[in-house]
Structures are given as structure tokens and as C-alpha cells.
């Protein structure tokens, strides 16, 4: 066999394996998509990815869900959007400022602060449930969106700060130096120079904050007393509850909830590689 033919064969093999693996990766999602559009109530009866008796009924039932004349789905959607958007904004604001200081200044408590962020990642969530409940109660934030927003943004902070700090570290200091010589204040440097340069990392930070809030159900379920105050994940959870399991409604609602996240994810994915690894590989 000639060298060329050997290489072609290898290339073909590589592509076949890669395609097969990709298909396996996507299969679960394709089946869920099929289930969401399926007319029959019996779940899957074949492995094909095409829905049997295609229909939008499941989506209609999920979106149109209302009780006592109140549009339940609408409430939950609104809650999710408000909480996620606010968490993103607050998370970015807190994380960028902190990361900037940690990257650029040397001050007492810096090492301890950075370490505490790392250590807080190891706190088991179950441990925090009761105490968080009580703290929110004491602050009068229980059953309020603001409570969820504050909790979610602080949950996202450690990861975001570490990532952003890594990114800031890679930005050369010369720019700031020359700006300082030109008389720029510390805030001007942060706002006009650092933020625009760190846009990819900030986009990723925002994505993580958003995903934290958009995907969380345990806290939302625990801290909200009023069922109308729940967010979408809590609603999805209920389709596969203990009493009744409605896989086709679960599938439809999953598609609805996952779409915005996936859209954002793909909008920002070109930043993902750079944003995630810039800090780590600099050395």
C-alpha cells in the first residue's frame, strides 16, 4: 500500500469513528426531541429519530398550562428570565471588580481571599440549605426573587473570579502604565482598558452566571413558598414527580428550557476555549 493510500485510509477511519462518536453523543437529545414531538403517549417504540404522528400538542400543553385562570407557565418563564438576567448582571459586576483587584494589586488579605474562593467550591450544597434558608429569612428575602438572585450570583462568584483573574493576568501591564502616565484614574483604567480587553472572558463569566440561575431547582424549590414564584426548572421537575410521570411533557419542557441556554452557549462558544484556558496555560 502506498503512503498516500495509507493516509487516506487513516483519514477515512478517523472521520468514521468521529462521526459515530458524535452520533452517540447526540442520540439522547435527538430522542428527547422526537419524544417532544411525538403524538403517541407510549414513549418510544422505535429507535428512529423521526417522531411518530408528529404534533405540537405536548408544547401546547406545557406552554398553555394554567390553573384557576392564572397562566402558570408564563409566571414561571418570567421568574426565570428576571432571576437569570439579574444574576448575570450582578455576577459580572461583582466578579470583574474583584478579579481586577486580585490580578493587579497586592494587598493584605489577597491570598486569603483567593484561597477562600477556591475552598468555597468544596462546600457541600446540602450543608448550606437550612442555614441559607434561615439567613434569607432573617434578611426578609425569602419568597422574593431578590433572594434567589443574591444567592445565585454569590454561588457563581468563585469560579468567575478565578477565571477572570487568570484572563486579566494575561493582559500586559504596559497599557495601564501608559494610561496612568496620561493621568487616567484607577477606575478609568478598569472601565476603559481592562473591561474591553477582557470581553471574551466576561462573556464566559456571564454565561456561567446565567446558567447557574437558569438551571437551578433545589434552592428555587426550597426558598419559594408560592408555587407561582417557582422558576422553570422546578416546573420541569414536577412532570416527572413521584405521583405521575409524563415523559412527553418533560421532553417538551426540556426543549423549551434548554433552547435559550444552548443558543447563548453557541453564541459565545468561540470565547469558551480562550476564556477558560487563557489563565491556566499562560505559564
Amino acid at each position: 500500500m502506498s503512503r498516500d493510500a495509507k493516509q487516506t485510509l487513516r483519514s477515512v477511519l478517523l472521520h468514521v469513528v468521529l462521526t459515530a462518536f458524535t452520533l452517540v453523543t447526540l442520540a439522547p437529545l435527538l430522542w428527547v426531541l422526537k419524544l417532544a414531538f411525538n403524538g403517541s403517549r407510549r414513549g418510544l417504540s422505535s429507535l428512529s429519530f423521526l417522531p411518530e404522528e408528529p404534533t405540537l400538542d405536548n408544547f401546547r400543553r406545557v406552554i398553555g398550562r394554567s390553573e384557576d385562570g392564572v397562566w402558570v407557565f408564563g409566571h414561571h418563564l418570567w421568574n426565570s428570565v428576571v432571576v437569570s438576567a439579574a444574576t448575570t448582571v450582578l455576577g459580572i459586576a461583582l466578579a470583574t471588580t474583584a478579579a481586577y483587584a486580585f490580578s493587579r494589586f497586592r494587598f493584605p488579605g489577597r491570598r486569603a481571599g483567593l484561597l477562600s474562593f477556591l475552598v468555597s467550591q468544596m462546600f457541600p450544597g446540602v450543608l448550606m440549605l437550612i442555614p441559607l434558608y434561615i439567613v434569607l429569612q432573617k434578611l426578609g428575602l425569602l419568597n422574593l426573587k431578590l433572594g434567589l438572585i443574591l444567592v445565585y450570583s454569590t454561588t457563581a462568584i468563585p469560579f468567575c473570579v478565578w477565571m477572570l483573574k487568570g484572563y486579566f493576568d494575561t493582559i500586559p501591564r504596559d497599557l495601564e502604565e501608559s494610561a496612568r502616565i496620561d493621568g487616567a484614574s484607577r477606575f478609568t483604567i478598569f472601565w476603559r482598558i481592562m473591561l474591553p480587553l477582557a470581553m471574551p472572558a466576561i462573556a464566559v463569566t456571564g454565561l456561567f452566571s446565567f446558567m447557574t440561575a437558569w438551571n437551578e431547582f433545589l434552592l428555587a424549590y426550597t426558598f419559594m413558598n408560592d408555587p407561582l414564584a417557582y422558576t422553570l426548572p422546578v416546573e420541569i421537575q414536577q412532570y416527572v414527580g413521584d405521583q405521575k410521570v409524563e415523559w412527553e411533557l418533560f421532553a417538551a419542557s426540556s426543549v423549551i428550557v434548554s433552547l435559550p441556554v444552548m443558543a447563548l452557549f453557541y453564541g459565545l462558544q468561540k470565547y469558551l476555549v480562550g476564556g477558560l484556558t487563557a489563565g491556566a496555560v499562560k505559564g
Binding site: L18, G125, S254, V273
Partner: protein
């Protein structure tokens, strides 16, 4: 003295005084609250008995009416009312409780009460063995009631008819001894104080790299004092076996077993429920009630306990909520005393360069209020029982040195958790790295498209992923079984009784979930490796493998190690997948530490024990990170 040093000393003095004050206040407040609650429970019980006394003069018809009215009053709980051997009995009927069978070692399902129940059964076993008999599988049902004790107080008595193969085999009894005496909390307070003093000492001097013998002795001594004192407080039994009451109990249960054996399951369910929820503190709450007509014809009811039980659920929340400011302060103090040497410099720094701290303070304030304080509160909770009795290291003792009959096996669960973490991380890294290498190969067409498609699992919310896979593994409707059938294989009951099928289902889910992160990290790192290195290696005639070992792997390290550490922590605490896919089944075997902690928290309502479990998780992860960090130097340079 320089500025930071002066600030430090001043703060240290103020902290020490504040610590003592807050501790005293907190303990006093806690003591009063606990006493008030206890009193309320026993008062309710007394009231109930008075009602029972009045009921004693009623006719059976009146009793029926009374029973009906009680049924109406609490319609949400189904109940069995029955008359047996002249005694009027009422038992909880839960819609579909597990049947209460246990072998002689006690069953895992029993809940916290099984320790004592186990002791009971072994006593009984001994008793039967002494007479040359043998106890096989046991079924127990039970009744309980309240009655005046010799010292003028009240106590609860419970009796178990023990069934063997459906035949009445004997009776065992338990008597609760109400502990209304003011519990002396001074030892506990001293224990806490010793602990904080230790922290304080450690912080003040920093932990010496080569500790002097004097320091070591002081540290060990205060640690030992704290341990001994807390242990002394911890070992106060509230329930004790009573042989004296067994005769009476036998009479009753024997009657029931012989006259109405069909009612025993109901009674046993009620008892099961009581043990499960209230066993650690029978004096505080209860959910079943029994009305018993004694030999003198008077009726006694334990309905008061039922009322107290309804209160019981709220006790924790209220007492704990009242204690929040103190607990939070204590936590902060502990933290501050740990950071003593830094504290002076920190305060000094904040005063001299406020402009810098302005950037950090908002994020830090949020972290302190919503992450740090809850964490410290949670850790403190680990030293208490569910109704906030301070038991020192009792919970940790139960975790690390479990009695022969226990609800949980920490070491087994830890083993499963390690297996789970290792298999997952290995799969994530292997698959992620392999895909990254393939996607980095210029010979592959449409690399962008493949990359976009392969990170899809990352973009799907992970609880949705978990539920999707639960559905995929569903016996009837699941795609996996359909696939197996299409391949001519037989269906597999993934969530059946086998550990491995359940574990595999979890593993498949989490592998799917986790490899894209490693792939993206590896890809980023691969792209930053200069191509000249490979060209140079080609010139030297290096093989593919040599290039991988010599160039790729070493250069991937700085990016991969932090990702692996982070991935390990995430997997170790991957609650969603275990909880939503296998649910810990079968019989909690696939539970990892975090889901086991949640089981204690949510299912068994043992908050303190769950918190102690979580503290163990935290300590394990912390040690892991410190050790791997030492070995791999993964975070080296990030502090510069």
C-alpha cells in the same frame, strides 16, 4: 509597635471578650428555649391525660363518637381505630408505608431508632436462646402510651409484640425517661471555649512549622479537654430499656396479638413511623396515638404527644432561627481568630488604601453573608441533634465508629464515592483528551462543526441531562433497552436490584455530561502549543508516541491539572446525577456521600447528622486538594 501589630493586639483583646460574652449569651438563650419547649410538650401530655381521664367514664358508643370526631379533626391522616380486649386503640395508617420486617440485626430502613430497637431484639434473642429456642425473621408491631411515673411525672411506655413467621413470639418493652432536669451545659460551654481558644492560639502565633513541645502540649490538652467534656455531655440516654414494664406491655400486646392479629401491621406501621421520626428524642415529638383502658377501667391517651409532634417540626426552625445571630457571630469569630496575624494587616490596609478594597469588598461581602456564614452555621449544626441538643462529637463518632447496627456505612459509601469519582474523571479525561487530539489534527475535515456538536452535552442543563438518561434507562420505554432488543439481546432492569446496573446508569450519564469540559480545556491547551516544537521533533525522527509523551503531555499539564482537580471536586459532589438517575438505589447502595447526607437531611430529618456528614465531605475534599496541590503544584504561580 508598628500600626498593623497594634491593630492586631487590640482586635485580639476585643475578640476574646466578645467571644466569651456571645458564647454565654447563646448558651443561656438556647437553654431557656429548650426548657420551654420541653415543658410545653409535657404539659400537653398532661392535658391529654386529663382528657383521657374524662373519657374513662364514657360508654363505648361515646368513644366511637369521640374517635369519629378526631378522625374529622385531622382528615389528612388515615387512622385505624379498633377495640381489642376492652382497650380502645388508634393507630396511624400511612397510605403506602413499607412493610416493617427486620432480621435479627435490624434493617437499614429503620431509621435512627434501630440502634435501640436492635438492642431490644438482641435482648429478646438472648432470652429466647436461653430457653433453647431460636428467633428467625422478626416482625414487630408496637403500641405506646403515657402513664404517671412514680416520681409524679409522666412517661411513655411502648410495647412491641414480636412476631415470628406470623406467630406471636414474645414481647419487648421500652420506657422513656423524661429528662426534665435542667441539663448542665457548662461542660459543653467549656468544650467550645477550649476549642476556640485553640483556634485563637493557632491564629495568634500561626501554626508553628516546628511546634515547640509546650505549644503541642497545650494544643493537645485543650483538644482532649474539649473532647472529654463534649463526650460527657453526649452520653446521656433518654430512652432506656425497661424490664419492669415488660410484663404490663406483654399483657397488652399479647391481648392484641391473640384477639386481633390482623391489626398488628397497622400498629407496626405506626410504630415504624414513630421510630423513624422521633426516636432520637421521644420526649419532644410523636405522631401516633393510642388510647388504652387500664385494668382499673380508666382510659389513657397519648394524644398530647401527637400535638407536641405537630409542634416538633417547628421547634428546630424556631430555635435555630433565634440562635442565628449568635451562631453567625461565633462563626465569624472563629474565622477571624484563625486569620489573626493577617487581621491587623488587613485592617491597616483597608484604612491606608481604601481605593483597592472598594473593588473586592462587594464580592467578599456577598460571599461572607451568603456562603461563609451559612457554611459555618452548617458546620456548627453538625455538633447538635435534630432538636438542637448539643452532643459534641456524637454525630462524628457515629459516622466514624458506627455501632454494629447502623443506618449507614460511611466507609462503604466513601468507597462507592471514590469509585464513582475515579471512574468518572478517568473517562472524562481520556475521552476529552482523545477527542481534543483528533479535533486538533489538521487532517480532520469540518473540525469546527464537530467541536460545536460535541460540546452539546455541556450546554444542556445537567438536571435535564440526568432526567433524560433516567428515561433512556427506563425498563419499558427507554431507548437503551430498545437498542438492546434491536441487537437481539434481552432487556435489562437497569434500576433493579443490582448495584452495577444502577452504577453503570449513573456513570453513563455523568460521562456524557462531563467529557466536553475536559475536551474544551485540552483543546485550548493544545492550540497554544507552538507547532515548531513538533517540527523540530520530526526532524529528530521522533515517533508519534514520543511526540505525545515528550511534547504534548508535559505542555498540557498546566491546563489539565487544575481542570482535573476541579472536575474531581465537582464529581465528588455530583448530587443531581445520583439523586435523579438511580436515586441511590438499590437500597441506597449507589448513594455517594453527598446524596447519603441528603437522605439523612430530607428523608430521615436528621439535620445534625447530615451536617456532620457534609463536614466529613468537606474535610476529605480539602485534604485531597491540599495534597494534590503539593504534588502537582497545580495552582503554582496563580498567587503571583
Amino acid at each position: 509597635m508598628d500600626g498593623p501589630r497594634r491593630v492586631h493586639l487590640l482586635a485580639a483583646g476585643v475578640l476574646l471578650v466578645a467571644m466569651v460574652l456571645v458564647l454565654g449569651l447563646a448558651l443561656r438563650r438556647y437553654q431557656e428555649e429548650l426548657d420551654a419547649r420541653r415543658l410545653a410538650v409535657w404539659e400537653a401530655l398532661g392535658e391529654a391525660m386529663a382528657t383521657a381521664g374524662r373519657a374513662g367514664s364514657r360508654t363505648p358508643t361515646e368513644l366511637e363518637a369521640w374517635a369519629a370526631s378526631r378522625r374529622e379533626a385531622r382528615p389528612n391522616v388515615g387512622r385505624h381505630f379498633f377495640l381489642a380486649a376492652g382497650r380502645y386503640l388508634e393507630a396511624l395508617d400511612l397510605s403506602e408505608p413499607p412493610t416493617f420486617t427486620m432480621d435479627s440485626r435490624g434493617s437499614r430502613d429503620l431509621g435512627p431508632g434501630d440502634l435501640r430497637l436492635g438492642a431490644l431484639v438482641s435482648t429478646l434473642e438472648q432470652h429466647v436462646a436461653d430457653r433453647g429456642g431460636h428467633l428467625g425473621d422478626l416482625e414487630t408491631g408496637a403500641l405506646w402510651w403515657a402513664e404517671p411515673s412514680e416520681d409524679g411525672g409522666q412517661r411513655l411506655v411502648a410495647a412491641f409484640p414480636v412476631m415470628r413467621g406470623g406467630v406471636f413470639a414474645g414481647v419487648a418493652g421500652v420506657e422513656t425517661v423524661p429528662d426534665t432536669r435542667r441539663r448542665n451545659l457548662v461542660p459543653a460551654a467549656l468544650g467550645i471555649l477550649a476549642f476556640f481558644t485553640l483556634l485563637f492560639l493557632a491564629g495568634l502565633r500561626r501554626w508553628p512549622r516546628h511546634p515547640t513541645p509546650a505549644f503541642l502540649a497545650a494544643a493537645l490538652a485543650s483538644g482532649a479537654v474539649a473532647l472529654a467534656l463534649t463526650a460527657a455531655v453526649a452520653n446521656k440516654d433518654q430512652v432506656r430499656l425497661s424490664t419492669a414494664r415488660c410484663g404490663q406491655a406483654a399483657l397488652l400486646a399479647g391481648d392484641l396479638a391473640s384477639t386481633a392479629p390482623e391489626l398488628l401491621p397497622a400498629a407496626s406501621r405506626a410504630w415504624h413511623q414513630i421510630w423513624k421520626r422521633e426516636a432520637p428524642s421521644l420526649g419532644a415529638a410523636g405522631t401516633g396515638d393510642a388510647v388504652v383502658r387500664g385494668d382499673d377501667g380508666s382510659l389513657r391517651v397519648s394524644v398530647g404527644l401527637l400535638r407536641a409532634g405537630e409542634d416538633g417540626a417547628r421547634i428546630l426552625e424556631q430555635v435555630f432561627a433565634d440562635l442565628v445571630p449568635f451562631l453567625a457571630l461565633l462563626g465569624l469569630l472563629a474565622l477571624l481568630s484563625l486569620a489573626m496575624p493577617g487581621l491587623g494587616r488587613l485592617v491597616h490596609g483597608m484604612v491606608t488604601m481604601p481605593g483597592i478594597y472598594a473593588y473586592v469588598v462587594p464580592a467578599m461581602a456577598g460571599m461572607v453573608v451568603l456562603v461563609l456564614i451559612p457554611f459555618v452555621m452548617g458546620v456548627l449544626l453538625g455538633f447538635f441533634t435534630t432538636d438542637l441538643e448539643f452532643i459534641g462529637l456524637g454525630n462524628f463518632q457515629e459516622i466514624l465508629f458506627p455501632a454494629s447496627v447502623s443506618d449507614t456505612n460511611f466507609y462503604l459509601t466513601l468507597g462507592v464515592t471514590v469509585l464513582w469519582t475515579v471512574t468518572n474523571v478517568v473517562l472524562h479525561v481520556t475521552i476529552g483528551l482523545a477527542l481534543a487530539l483528533v479535533l486538533n489534527n489538521p487532517a480532520v475535515k469540518a473540525r469546527g462543526l464537530f467541536r460545536v456538536l460535541l460540546i452539546v452535552p455541556w450546554a444542556v442543563p445537567n438536571y435535564i441531562t440526568a432526567l433524560i438518561w433516567k428515561w433512556m434507562f427506563n425498563y419499558e420505554f427507554g431507548a437503551i433497552n430498545l437498542l438492546l432488543q434491536a441487537l437481539g439481546l434481552s432487556k435489562v432492569a437497569w434500576f433493579g436490584t443490582s448495584f452495577w446496573t444502577n452504577f453503570l446508569a449513573n456513570l453513563a450519564t455523568n460521562t456524557w455530561l462531563g467529557f466536553p469540559f475536559m475536551m474544551v480545556v485540552s483543546l485550548g491547551a493544545l492550540q497554544s502549543i507552538p507547532g515548531e516544537l513538533y517540527e523540530a521533533a520530526d526532524i529528530d525522527g521522533a515517533t508519534r508516541w514520543q511526540k505525545f509523551r515528550g511534547i504534548t503531555l508535559p505542555l498540557l499539564k498546566p491546563a489539565l491539572f487544575p481542570a482535573i482537580i476541579l472536575g474531581t471536586i465537582w464529581t465528588f459532589n455530583m448530587f443531581n446525577v445520583i439523586y435523579l438517575v438511580s436515586g441511590g438505589g438499590p437500597d441506597n447502595q449507589t448513594n455517594i456521600l453527598i446524596t447519603e447526607a441528603y437522605r439523612f437531611f430530607k428523608v430521615l430529618n436528621r439535620y445534625g447528622f447530615a451536617a456532620a456528614y457534609c463536614v466529613m465531605i468537606f474535610v476529605i475534599l480539602l485534604l485531597y486538594t491540599i495534597i494534590t496541590n503539593r504534588v502537582t503544584r497545580a495552582t503554582e504561580g496563580t498567587f503571583e
